[in-house]
Assembly symmetry: C2
Homo-oligomer: 187 residues x 2
Amino acid sequence: MELKQGLLQISPLPESDLKSILKIADQIQLDKDIIFIDENKTNKYIYFLQKGICRIYYYKEHKEVILDFCFPGQIILPLNSYIHGTPTYEIVDTLTDCILYKISIQKLQELYKESLAIANWGRKLAELETLKIEERLMQHLFKTASERYHDLLQKAPLLLQHIKLGYIATYLGVSQVTLSRIRAEVK
Amino acid sequence: MELKQGLLQISPLPESDLKSILKIADQIQLDKDIIFIDENKTNKYIYFLQKGICRIYYYKEHKEVILDFCFPGQIILPLNSYIHGTPTYEIVDTLTDCILYKISIQKLQELYKESLAIANWGRKLAELETLKIEERLMQHLFKTASERYHDLLQKAPLLLQHIKLGYIATYLGVSQVTLSRIRAEVK
DNA sequence: GTAGTTTTTTAACATTTGTAAAAATAAGTT
DNA sequence: AACTTATTTTTACAAATGTTAAAAAACTAC
């Protein structure tokens, strides 16, 4: 998905404001398996994913725990850096070759202080992010690992081609053995 | 906590903008056990909790599952109504006598379209909400029920006086029996 | 195609958690 | 105080999940 379209899908923007944001966005191309947001660092950019798949993960006792997968059209926010300007604990890397746009957080903050439409766009961005994370929390509170697995498959059928099951298990919050059992259930 | 202070704690506001928001806020007093945000309804207000304790919960197969507890100084957002103007699935009620302020979502949206400072205030509100929910999701992905219980006790030591353990168990995502076992662990 | 590596599944067993019911405790009422 | 009701803990057993290790399958590279 094109950046322009991705920005407008958050909320409508007058042409001039849209241009202001496009002006502070730079396209980058990354190969597979590149870490572009790293833990314990104050990240200077948010990203728009145009093409490819990324994953957001953390380390828990030296093991990777996957928090989310990202698909084209999504904006990737290193939350703590974006909101408080502090180091993040998440790591984001590419699962495939990717085309992204990086947008300077600092310059975006300046636009927030100048333009009403962009400030409201930023509000919408945060609101949609809230809904997304809440949805994910609800999945954990209300659904079984099996349901979460099937929901994920439906949401992202091509995921299995790009990520090994051991990682998907951490996303679902179960061991790999349990995921194997889930997969063996029906078929 | 006073409404004025609560609003400013989200992000700074010029006096005139602060007044604009105060103007659309109405104080209400509610007795214990009153539902003031109900499921499947499009709520017209967000709330600021000045005094008392509330809880946010849902129904899962005819059983209450608690999503969050709210303490003075917090803003309570019926997410779907606030963000999309659609019905919410959460229910919010008072666990004690409460003093709240209700703020019209519609009027607030109008202020967002008029004032840059208020639009940025609304952005900050959403951003902080994102962090709060993410924190909660992380608790579920990274911590055991026992750790979550002790964290909750630390965060809200007076909670046990106001809510029965069966409900706290649903908040933690475990059965009441498991919670009893957790409580029996150390002591 | 074969040898070597990685990933996934399976098996066996230990641990945790859930369910249902009973016992113990606490709270409320007359 | 005695009775009733609500809440919490405990018990016994069943079901689900984790751990470790081994087997099977899939993937790489030569």
